[in-house]
Symmetry: C2
């Protein structure tokens, strides 16, 4: 058979299909075919989904008419990329303001809506996600396929640790686990007191697979230790993460692997893009993520021109749904940062890779004396130090021309017990390490273990506050004298 498996528009999957238990691939043809052949199919699909969107909603019709773009112009990937205008999150917010509650980019009748979720932004009007009944099944199919690629198999217990609420991450992992034929354990942390219970249940159920955020996995290992348990006793074999960088950051990744003795996989693009596991690691290609181009089409683009950059370069991912009929995203700008390559993969899938995962946001970047710095790079540098206590804060002062930066870094209890000289040596070590790895001179405050609150969701480590910066700089200069 040379045709691609289940490659139809509108997308429709056999919900009872599963590959042979020992198969590495869910869809061997689609995952390993020659990229140029796949690209031909993607061009055809882009025309189909653009035709569909043009005919089904005013959002795309008006936007494209204004830009002089029409789906019939798509004869190559380059045609699509050059002519089709991008969509931003601000466009979506405006569309929902104009046509509440789901926006004029809803392409199915309201009666088709199966689930409503939304952004969890704390300021301004949040954005609602409306996911159609058929799309929900397609999302489950896509996630099951990708989780299969991570080595998760029917019958495995999949412990979904992250919160079940507006946040799409947990729902996507759950739908994939269900479709895969796993035993889904939707634990859902987030409420006070749940972390101690999570540890108790992990010890009782010994799940094969775990989903959450990297911060929360590290925190749970600390909670386990406090309860007299060892995270390795949970017997978890595979852990997959989204929601924040970390699982692709070598130092963080190593700390998680070390705490659980499990394999660690990064995944996840954006909630709007569900099936958001369109970028994800596989069991053999475990560093960074693959771009599963036949699920969503990814271009890594120059953040300013929004033109695709060559492989080997950094840019912001721009995503296009190939299998969504409700609220399809066509050239949605992520605002994330990634480097992409097209090297041969260890797993044999012929997809491009994001070997460092998603390592920041365009907006997170700060520039210190001419150096572009991302918070995840500091996380990575600290995580390599054996005496690092697991949390830190980056205090910056953005001042137009000249951004400044200070670090507050926790030490381990062992180091703290050794007293002041050891702490001073650690401070020097941090400064040297950050300088070597990032070319960045910074002042460092050493903090006692447990100084900074842990989180059961995404860590917020950057404090952008001129006053906090000034106070702290004052104190550090005083201590240094």
């Amino acid at each position: 058979m040379s045709a691609m498996e289940s490659w139809t528009w509108p997308p429709r999957y056999d919900d009872s299909y599963r590959p042979a238990h020992n198969s590495r691939y869910w869809f061997p043809i689609r995952e390993t075919m020659a990229p140029d052949k796949r690209d031909e199919a993607i061009v055809q699909r882009l025309r189909e989904i653009c035709d569909y969107a043009y005919g089904s909603c005013s959002f795309y019709r008006d936007k494209w008419n204004d830009a002089g773009f029409h789906p019939s112009q798509i004869r190559s990937l380059e045609d699509f990329e050059r002519r089709c205008p991008v969509v931003t999150k601000a466009d979506l917010r405006a569309a929902q303001h104009r046509a509440p509650p789901f926006g004029d980019y809803l392409c199915v009748p309201e009666s088709e809506i199966h689930h409503i979720h939304g952004t969890s932004g704390t300021t301004g009007r949040p954005t609602a996600f409306a996911i159609g009944r058929g799309d929900w099944q397609n999302i489950a199919n896509a996630h099951a396929r990708i989780m299969w690629g991570m080595g998760i198999r029917p019958g495995d217990i999949v412990f979904v640790a992250a919160i079940f609420s507006l946040y799409m991450g947990s729902w996507g992992a759950l739908s994939g686990a269900e479709r895969l034929g796993a035993k889904a354990f939707p634990f859902g942390a987030g409420a006070p007191g749940m972390s101690a219970r999570a540890v108790q249940w992990l010890g009782m159920m010994k799940p094969k697979a775990f989903y959450g955020t990297p911060s929360y996995a590290l925190y749970l290992a600390e909670v386990a230790a406090k309860e007299g348990l060892n995270a390795t006793d949970f017997g978890i074999e595979r852990m997959f993460f989204s929601g924040e960088p970390g699982a692709s950051v070598p130092g963080v990744r190593d700390r998680i692997m070390d705490a659980y003795k499990a394999e660690v996989f990064d995944c996840g693009s954006m909630a709007e893009m569900s099936p958001f596991m369109n970028v994800a690691a596989s069991a053999e290609s475990f560093q960074g993520m693959l771009c599963w181009q036949d699920i969503c089409y990814t271009e890594v683009c120059d953040p300013k021109t929004l033109v695709r950059v060559p492989y080997g370069q950094r840019g912001t991912p721009v995503y296009t749904h190939l299998e969504r009929t409700s609220q399809p995203m066509i050239r949605l700008v992520s605002g994330d940062l990634a480097l992409w390559t097209n090297d041969k993969t260890a797993c044999g899938r012929t997809y491009p890779s994001l070997p460092q995962g998603i390592f920041g946001r365009i907006d997170d970047m700060f520039t210190i004396r001419g150096e572009n710095v991302y918070p995840s790079e500091i996380d990575a540098a600290l995580s390599k130090l054996p005496d690092y206590g697991g949390e830190h804060r980056i205090v910056i002062s953005r001042d137009g021309n000249m951004d400044e930066l200070l670090l507050r870094v926790e030490v381990t209890a062992e180091l703290s017990a050794k007293g002041r000289p050891a702490m001073d040596a650690f401070r020097q070590q941090v400064a040297t390490s950050v300088h070597t790895m990032l070319g960045l001179r910074t002042m460092v405050e050493v903090a006692q273990p447990g100084t900074f609150p842990r989180t059961d969701f995404k860590a917020r480590r950057v404090i952008d506050d001129r006053e906090v910066f000034k106070d702290l700089a004052q104190r550090l200069r005083f201590e240094a004298t």
Copy 2:
């Protein structure tokens, strides 16, 4: 057609079936047939499920062999009730201790398990629920059917406010909403800060239906007021509740209806019994709950003898699954308290009723000078007073022979502003009301608005602490002098 709709063992439903939009009933025959004819079918089904359980797991086989019971003995409901021994929660805990993690009452292969949930008990070993793939669909079917009976229709937005975690309530409501063809909005409160967001989303999405706990609905109305909104602006038409008494307690029910101008429905037996909406109100029979006997068979029993009590009497519900193949519960003692009747229902369903819902736990009862009192009765008495501020605490001192009780009761801000004499009058009013309604003399402390923390889950109002009681009694006696 005289056969009951989709009445087969093992249970199998057409997942695409829906009644006509204007039909009051999901299954007109099953819901309105002559009770004796239904009972005949239930006797047959009890024999089938007991045969199945006897053949599939050692838990029931051993228990029943010890008791001299065999499924072939079931020729009437009375045979079943007299011969089949009950199951207690302690039995389930012991079974999971003996055969971890799911217990020797799991009647399907582990590979059939679709979802894992569990009790949220904070002490001791919690109990895991393993729900099979087919059972999950049957639960969804049963819940869709019962929610249809409440008047919820395809396309309605169903806002599921309660937490998605171990607690089965939200998952059951979600599965029903999905199966019904509603727009499911699994909001999932519980994490800090979510209540203000819930209010924001309710205002944006204006859902037709709402699921949560009564305490949380009342709390959300307060949060709305703080945010300058009115809960009536959400446009909610139907609210259904489980997890604690309240929706059947007239005073509480009235306060919710008043705050939201919505219809209020009580439902829910026990997480172990999923489909737990086996006891639930309907749009026309909105006070208390119906026992949907063809989904789970309910007997209200004398708590000591565990023999069915006549209609019109109080007892503890004992439930038997008629449609579960994974971990079927056969004569599970709830430990709850209810009164049951067999009067003609307003909706025309020929089921027995629990007209006061589930109004307490056997263990919650305290005896004050010979009077048996349940916390929900105090809740009901207070909720009828216009100046009641919405929260209270019941301080008891259990002392073997002589239990004692004090009440701490919040007033409204309006009353509080009127000063001491008004507060004193309210104190007297509470004492009189509790005496009239419950035949109970009690000391009362009047508390300022907002004294007691609100909850996004189940309210815990009883404080059983001898020292707290003594201190408070001392203070009240002093103030009274």
